[in-house]
Structure formats: structure tokens, C-alpha cells
């Protein structure tokens, strides 16, 4: 009997959550799940709180099946998961500051997203007034005579999002990197409370702009699960068309940017031109370059305006991208920077449940399109490329290969696009109905959970970007590399700040 099944059997109560169950458990079962995480029997996919309860989302790697455990916190505390399972640490810090529930035994009591600037404490809980003057932060130390610290950010040198990196280095060698995030925290999970579906979908589309299709899709699927809405077949195919176009555009940008950070500007230039082709095709096909607000609960906001630009884009990439791949693979000075750089230990990737190029470059066979899987990917032929090296080169190759797979899928989707409507009305759903969704963004799996109020509004929601479990791995991957390789390594991960900070 799998741990997931055993935990389910220990349920005190089963909540109205679709398509995977949410169960209320006692402390003993909660602890059993925490040890199961530690033992690697299940993977942590989300950990969040609300007044009076904490929720733990588990995923069974073999089947991709999800189970959500809920523990009542009558006295405002819950047993820490992070004390035995480090991937939960930042999530528990977030629960403490956002909701006010205390993870008992959690070894890290520092705030995470809360920089003491909001003027409110526990915004997802009691929301009491608090000072907004800011507070010093205790960075972790690395001690010894030759060590020096390099503080970077939150405002970086490039056109990128804000975050703070505290390097402790011995000469050129990084001994410790500690991230401090939360700068772009916008209070998304509170903003959606009480919002109608239209407004909440707009907010979800802006969780991370580069993954706007994937986030809209995750939100829509969660709402559809909660309300029992089945979008028309054409909608599924149009959504996949957008999602794969988004994936191609982002991967092209990343391949170019990684090479540019190794001072090989030629690749950025060429990939940038191809990326622009993809965005223009998206604009012509769906009326927006990033396809923002095109996926909505019930289907898609627009039908395919014109298929020809997408077909032409695929042809242009089939012609223009392979020479760039050969250029990458034959330029020794470039490979010298990417091969063996920033190698991530596969055991850590497994433990943190890393998805996307971070996980798959470490041999993890994970892809939400396959497991648990969702329409229309069961009707499409595609491979999930895997690399074992775990270095910058491996993550570049995952992207290169995924571009090919996505182009193949776009061709299949265009060839077999079903006729019919692209949208249906969303049923209001019962008060308290809950839905959960896992969707594969270009970075990896995104998790969305919603609870409805029965009148077409969101009662509560939780969003977990793939970056949440990838950011800590970046700290591990940079250790004992040189400072100058950090931009390269950081770009090869390309974690979302906005998606993490919410």
C-alpha cells in the first residue's frame, strides 16, 4: 500500500475538493506524512495556511497523483515539517508571517516575505496593524579569516526582477550564497479573496508575466475542477497551442541569455530574433504578444484568429534554430563556461521536487503534462527530454530539446484542431467547493488551489510557482563555483521573482 493510500485511509474527514481529495488529519498522520517526505516516499508540492488550519500538498511521483492534508491548528501552532524536511522551511516561514500560525520546532524563525514594510502583520490571518519602518535581517554566516561578503541587489545591473543575493566568498570561490526574496510581494493571495472570477483570473495571469498562459491555465483548471465545468475540446487544444508557444518563446530567450552571460552575444542576437518571430506569431494568432488574459475559466477568451502565422513561425524555427544549436555545441570557449558549471546534486533536486529544466537536467522524469497529465496532452506525441549532468549545459540542452518537442506539438495541434465552441459558461459551484490544478509552465509545475464562496467569487486561493522549490537549489548549485559564474548559473535556472514573492 502506498503512503498516499495509507494517509488517505487515516482521514478524519474528506473535504469537497476536486479532482484530488483534501483530507483532514490528526497530528499523528501529519507527522507520518512529514516523515514520508523525509524518506522520499512522497514529494512536497505545496504547504500553505489559512486561519485555523495548515494544508500540505503531496504528490506521488510514480503516478503524479496529489493528496492534500489539512491539520486544524486550534491553539495557533502546528508541528514543523521543515525540521525534518528542509524544502518546507521557507514555506513555514511564510505561513507564520502571512497567517500567524506558528510552526513548532521550525529551526528558522526569521521572516521571509515580510520585510516589516506593509504596516500590517499576518495579512492572510488576523491582519493587525504593525510598524512599517523595515527591520534588519540576520543573514546566515560563513566564518573564517579570508571570507568576505558581496551584497547584490535588490536592484540588479541588468533588466531583471529585484532580489537580494548575499555571497560569502573566499577569493573568487563562493562559499555560501543566501537569497533574500520578497521584494515584489504584491499580496496576491489576499487580493483574490472576494474577487469575482474575471478579476481573479486577471490577477492570476500576472503572477509571473513570462508564464502568464501557464498561470491562467492553472487558475482556470482549478476553478473548473471546483465548479465541475468541462471546457470544450477546442479550448483544450487552443490552450495547449498557447502554452507551447509560450514555452518556445521563453526557452529561446533563456538559451540566448545564458550564452550572453558567457559573453557570447551572437547567440542572444540570433535567439532574440527568433523569439521576436514567436511573439509576433502569438500576437497575430491570439491578439497579444504574451497571450495574456487569453486563457480563462471555461475555455479561452478568444478563438484562434489566424493559424498561418503560427505555422510560418514553426517553419522559420525549424529552419533557423538547428544552426544555432550546432553553433552552441561546436563553440568550445562557450562550452568551457557551461559544462560542469553550477552542477546541482540530483539528490537535492529529488528532495526539493524540482520541476522543469532544473529537475529534468538532474535526471528527474517529471512533467505535469505527462503525470498527472491533462488534456490535450494525452492526444499528443512528445518526449520529455532528460539529462543527467545537472550543470548549466544540461539545463541549456533541456531547453533546446524542449523547443523541438513544443514545435512538434504546435504542428500536431494546428493539424488536428477540433471544431466547435472555445468557451462555455462556468457553473457557480457550491459554497466551499475547492479545486486544485497542476500545470506545466516553461519553468516546471505550477500548483493552484481555489475555494469558492458559492456566488462566483474566490473565498481563498493558494498559488505555488515552480520557482519556489528551485530558488533554494540555486544556493546549493553555486557553492564552490566562482563568483563570475553566478550570472550564468542564475540565468540557467531563471527562477521567477514575482512568481515566488506573489
Amino acid at each position: 500500500m502506498s503512503l498516499r493510500a495509507a494517509l488517505y485511509d487515516a482521514a478524519l474527514e474528506v473535504a469537497d475538493q476536486k479532482p484530488w481529495p483534501r483530507i483532514r488529519v490528526d497530528e499523528e498522520t501529519w507527522a507520518r506524512a512529514a516523515f514520508g517526505l523525509h524518506a522520499g516516499d512522497v514529494t512536497l508540492t505545496a504547504l500553505w495556511g489559512e486561519p485555523g488550519a495548515v494544508h500540505m500538498g503531496l504528490i506521488e511521483e510514480e503516478t503524479g497523483e496529489v493528496l492534500v492534508l489539512s491539520l486544524d491548528c486550534a491553539n495557533g501552532t502546528f508541528p514543523s515539517v521543515g525540521v525534518t524536511h528542509a524544502p518546507a522551511l521557507r514555506l513555514e516561514r511564510t505561513i507564520r508571517e502571512m497567517v500567524g500560525l506558528v510552526p513548532e520546532g521550525c529551526p528558522d524563525d526569521r521572516p521571509w516575505l515580510d520585510h516589516s514594510r506593509w504596516g500590517v502583520a499576518h495579512p492572510l490571518g488576523a491582519a493587525t496593524p504593525a510598524p512599517a519602518e523595515g527591520a534588519p535581517y540576520r543573514f546566515l554566516t560563513a566564518e573564517g579569516p579570508p571570507m568576505h561578503q558581496i551584497p547584490v541587489g535588490p536592484v540588479h545591473a541588468g533588466i531583471i526582477e529585484p532580489g537580494h543575493f548575499r555571497f560569502t566568498a573566499n577569493g573568487e570561490t563562493v562559499v555560501r550564497l543566501e537569497e533574500r526574496l520578497g521584494w515584489v510581494h504584491k499580496g496576491i493571495e489576499r487580493l483574490v479573496i472576494g474577487a469575482d472570477l474575471e478579476r481573479a483570473a486577471k490577477i492570476a495571469a500576472r503572477i509571473s508575466g513570462d508564464s502568464t498562459v501557464a498561470w491562467s491555465l492553472a487558475f482556470a483548471r482549478a476553478v473548473e475542477a471546483a465548479t465541475g465545468t468541462e471546457p470544450p475540446k477546442r479550448a483544450h487544444w487552443l490552450r495547449a497551442l498557447m502554452a507551447e508557444t509560450e514555452r518556445v518563446a521563453n526557452h529561446l530567450g533563456d538559451v540566448g541569455a545564458v550564452c550572453n552571460d558567457a559573453a557570447f552575444a551572437q547567440m542572444l542576437n540570433r535567439c532574440g530574433q527568433l523569439r521576436e518571430k514567436v511573439l509576433r506569431a502569438a500576437d497575430a494568432a491570439f491578439g497579444h504578444r504574451l497571450m495574456m488574459d487569453r486563457v480563462v475559466p471555461g475555455g479561452t477568451a478568444v478563438d484562434l484568429l489566424d493559424a498561418k502565422p503560427l505555422a510560418e513561425m514553426v517553419a522559420a524555427l525549424r529552419h533557423g534554430f538547428p544552426p544555432l544549436v550546432r553553433l552552441y555545441d561546436n563553440t568550445v570557449s562557450l562550452l568551457d563556461r557551461t559544462v560542469t558549471t553550477g552542477r546541482l546534486d540530483p539528490a537535492l533536486a529529488r528532495r526539493w521536487g524540482a520541476g522543469g529544466h532544473v529537475g529534468r537536467a538532474c535526471g528527474r522524469r517529471c512533467d505535469a503534462r505527462r503525470l498527472p497529465g491533462y488534456a490535450p496532452y494525452d492526444a499528443l506525441r512528445f518526449d520529455v527530454p532528460i539529462r543527467e549532468t545537472g550543470d548549466v549545459d544540461g539545463r541549456v540542452w533541456i531547453r533546446i530539446l524542449e523547443i523541438g518537442e513544443s514545435l512538434g506539438m504546435i504542428e500536431q495541434l494546428l493539424a488536428g484542431l477540433p471544431k466547435g465552441p472555445h468557451r462555455v459558461d462556468v457553473a457557480p459551484g457550491a459554497a466551499g467547493a475547492e479545486g486544485v490544478a497542476l500545470v506545466e509552465a516553461f519553468r516546471g509545475d505550477t500548483f493552484a488551489w481555489v475555494r469558492l464562496d458559492g456566488e462566483g467569487r474566490i473565498a481563498r486561493a493558494h498559488f505555488r510557482d515552480a520557482s519556489v522549490f528551485q530558488w533554494p537549489l540555486l544556493e546549493a548549485a553555486i557553492a564552490y563555483n566562482i563568483v563570475a559564474d553566478f550570472p550564468l548559473l542564475n540565468k540557467s535556472f531563471n527562477c521567477s521573482y514575482s512568481g515566488h514573492d506573489l
Binding site: H115, R117, G119, I160, K186, R199, G209, S496, S498
Partner: protein
């Protein structure tokens, strides 16, 4: 690699050509910016981009300004790595409470004369994030704004048009 270099030497630039009839608006605006920017600032206008809380959608399109198709640098406009080298702060996002001080400090570090361009619908009034406990508001809630470029996110063409409007105003 040699093949690419030869190709680059022999091929016409990827940058969209000036006389293309259907893109006449874009190139015409480019020339206009050229003249105005020269008058005011010699040959260059240095831009420092600051994300004060955006979803990163605006950043993607600002990035595109640098690609070979839009080639912002042909107009003398260049992104720089430090506010101390900048004439223009290009700010995106609703300003989050957590980023407020960083934006104020970046603004203070930019030498006069300086201009602030707020990019995107969030930068105007907070956009869909307005009203959040974690959001201060639009960019002008924290630093004075000279120009606002609308869009969610604005297209690279809209960004170019906006930058031109800024130079016209300051000239």
C-alpha cells in the same frame, strides 16, 4: 562559427529597414527621436531600468527593445547598469512596499537632469494590484514621473514611441 560571421557580414541587417512602408511609423519616429535626443543630450540617452514590483511581463518587452529587430541603440538610447550612469529611470510595476526604499535610493543616485518613465498599466496606478496592503501605488506615489507608457505590457513599438515623446518634452 566562421559561417555565421561571413553570413553576418554579407546579409542585410535584421533590424527592420527604414523604408519599409508598413512600418513607416516606427522608423519615422526613430528619426524624430534621433534629432531631438541629439539636441538635448548629444548622442546618447542612458536608461536604467528598475523593476519596482512588476510581474516581469514589462521586462520581457523592454528586453525586446535591445534585440536586433528593434535595436534601440541605433537611436543613441542605451540601457546602463547603474543609476549613477543614467539620464532616465524606466520604472515598471506597481511600487511594492518592500521595493519603495530601493526605488527612492535608486532615484536619489541618478544625477540631474533626470527623467522618470513609468512603464505599464501597473506603474500608472497599481493596475490590478491597486489596493493591496503590499502595494504603495503607481510610480508617482514614490518618485515624480515625466512620462507614462501604457500597456499590459506595452509593445516594444509603444515603448519606442513613448521614449520619443519623452525626448520631445524634455527638449
Amino acid at each position: 562559427m566562421p559561417k555565421f560571421l561571413i553570413e553576418s557580414l554579407l546579409r542585410r541587417p535584421a533590424t527592420e529597414p527604414a523604408p519599409a512602408a508598413d512600418e513607416a511609423g516606427l522608423t519615422e519616429l526613430g528619426r524624430c527621436l534621433d534629432a531631438a535626443a541629439h539636441r538635448k543630450l548629444g548622442r546618447s540617452l542612458a536608461i536604467r531600468e528598475v523593476d519596482a514590483g512588476s510581474c516581469n511581463g514589462c521586462e520581457l518587452e523592454i528586453h525586446a527593445l535591445n534585440n536586433a529587430i528593434y535595436d534601440l541603440e541605433r537611436f543613441g538610447l542605451k540601457f546602463v547598469a547603474s543609476p549613477r550612469h543614467a539620464d532616465v529611470l524606466m520604472v515598471t510595476g506597481p511600487v511594492t512596499a518592500n521595493m519603495r526604499e530601493a526605488l527612492e535610493r535608486t532615484h536619489a543616485a541618478t544625477p540631474d537632469p533626470k527623467w522618470v518613465v513609468a512603464v505599464g498599466d501597473c506603474a500608472l496606478d497599481g493596475g490590478v494590484f491597486a489596493g493591496s496592503y503590499a502595494v504603495v501605488g503607481g510610480v508617482d506615489a514614490v518618485v515624480p514621473v515625466d512620462l507614462h507608457i501604457k500597456g499590459c505590457p506595452p509593445s516594444p513599438k509603444a515603448l519606442l514611441e513613448g521614449l520619443i515623446a519623452l525626448v520631445e518634452k524634455s527638449a
